[in-house]
Amino acid sequence: MSLLHLENLTVSINTADGPIDIIEQINLQMSAGDKLGIVGESGCGKSITALAIISLLPEKSIVSGRILLNGENLLDLSPAEMCRVRGNRVGMIFQEPMTALNPVKTIGAQIAESLKLHLKIGRKEIQDRVSQLMEDVGLPVRRFPLDLYPHLLSGGQRQRVMIAMAIACEPDLLIADEPTTALDVTVQEQILDLILDLADRSGMGLIMISHDLGVIAQTTEQVAVMYTGNLFETGPTAEVFNQMAHPYTHGLFSAIPKPGHSAEQERSRLYTIPGQVPEIHMRPDGCSFADRCGHALESCRTQDPPKIDLGNQHLAWCFNPINRTDKG
């Protein structure tokens, strides 16, 4: 049964020069227990997609398409109904653990917030659940009493508290927006493992948003690559990473310094994608990547790229993908 289905999701905002699409025609599907990664650089729209799902977009946004959570279109819900979804059926973890917690509330109170809001249970039971959640996220209550304030915790510890808050009501879907970007690499390892453990144990779906291809490789089974608000490539993570079809994905991959590079004799340079990501209001016609793409054809600059099915649920939106094994 499909857990989440984004159908032609488009978010635009009104600017002085008219409405501009921030994300365009996003189509993604997830079943319960799936782990989907969304990868891209700044401005690609990955965070906006997440915010659209839980309906926390900036005020002047216009959303079209459908967001189906367990078959129900979230866009049809009233704000009050949406509040019952947030924290209850969909949980979210944010990037900056240092600022995402309220500095004047105890960690116990913050974890209890969504429990109090969504579940009709008594105070004692809430206490018990909060203690259990703290254990689940690896913060034993003996060492981390519930009346601690966030500033006494390290970044990794705060992130664990945020995770506890997000899963408190046992949501069907957990969205993690760059959860470890601000953390040290050894802490990142622990936090990612924790998230994966929790996802496996509860069977909830996981959306992992990151710009770090390593994180995506290690935590997801499906991946979607975004650029300036469009989907460029989707498919099983292993498939996409081993057989990159879209020139952008390929460029992204090539630009990362690989381990073992220091063993080379030559001080070679990194592969770079020429140019830079266009501003949101200056996106060119046709494929927005065309003027930076080594594979570009004439049609790329004038028409929107078609969806190509490469088999194995691997899709790319491109006129001239790499390793073209078109099955259409």
Binding site: E41, E189, L213, K258, I273
Partner: protein, 320 residues
Amino acid sequence: MKSPLIKIVNVVKDYQLPRKKLLEKRPPFRALNGVSLEVERGASFGIVGESGCGKSTLARIVMALDKPTSGQVYYEDKELFGLKTKELNGLRHHFQMVFQDPYGSLNPRKNVLGIVAEPLDTLKEKLTTQQRQKRVEKTLEEVGLNRNDIVKYPHEFSGGQRQRIAIARALITRPSLIVADEPVSALDVSVQAQVLNLMMDLQEKYNLTYIFISHDLSVVEFITDSVAVIYLGKIVEQGKTRDLFRNPLHPYTQTLLAAVPDIDPSKKRERSGKKEMVFSDAPPQGCPFQPRCQSATEICEQQNPELASKGDQHVACHHV
């Protein structure tokens, strides 16, 4: 043999923590615990560590922006902290710094000309307005920006471009040494590659010496030829980048390298335990990594290992 460009000898830096109670005596926080390094001219030296290890403190001390509690820093045989302020400021154009935050390291109220030209203000030779402007324009072109950008303000540029402006500012006095403190950490992958390539090009062109500080191991592996790993204010391993990454000797270095998520999805790592490992503080006379170390034994609690050589590498560990 030519002396190294930068020589850091046994630098210790203590910070006095604010008192919680009125007459409480708090022991100082030791950010750097006897760090010594030598960097040759033209080298690209990396300093790797996680947050709180002291690498940024070290960067500021090398740049003489902070005084060490004890220890010396030599720039070409001149001990920086023994000089008078005027003399020290006179030397500053030889070493410049590039900072991490491309948003915070540029004064939002100054335009590019004002920002990039700033280090020129304190040079002994005074330039005319025109000379100043010409020099800024030339440097901007060298870092891949347009000379017409001089009238623009920082907020009109992207993160990668701002970092180029910061590099231009560091470059304008033709320094010998550039200390780069996490210069690409805040940038997107593709932009990061451009900036790293630029830094390598500039190094070759001007025979620059880099001290490159980062927590990102892949970046450090790429751009440096020697590297030192810092843990809690102490260098625990040091050597040629190639050697250290291929064969890390210190348990901490091994932990760091193992923690980097592999880009190959088929190589999924074994999951670690989920418990938040809170490490009790190591006994002060022992090895700082001891509470976390798998191979720790009794001697590790009693004696802080010194940096000893093992072949071309230097490791501070009792069990190597």
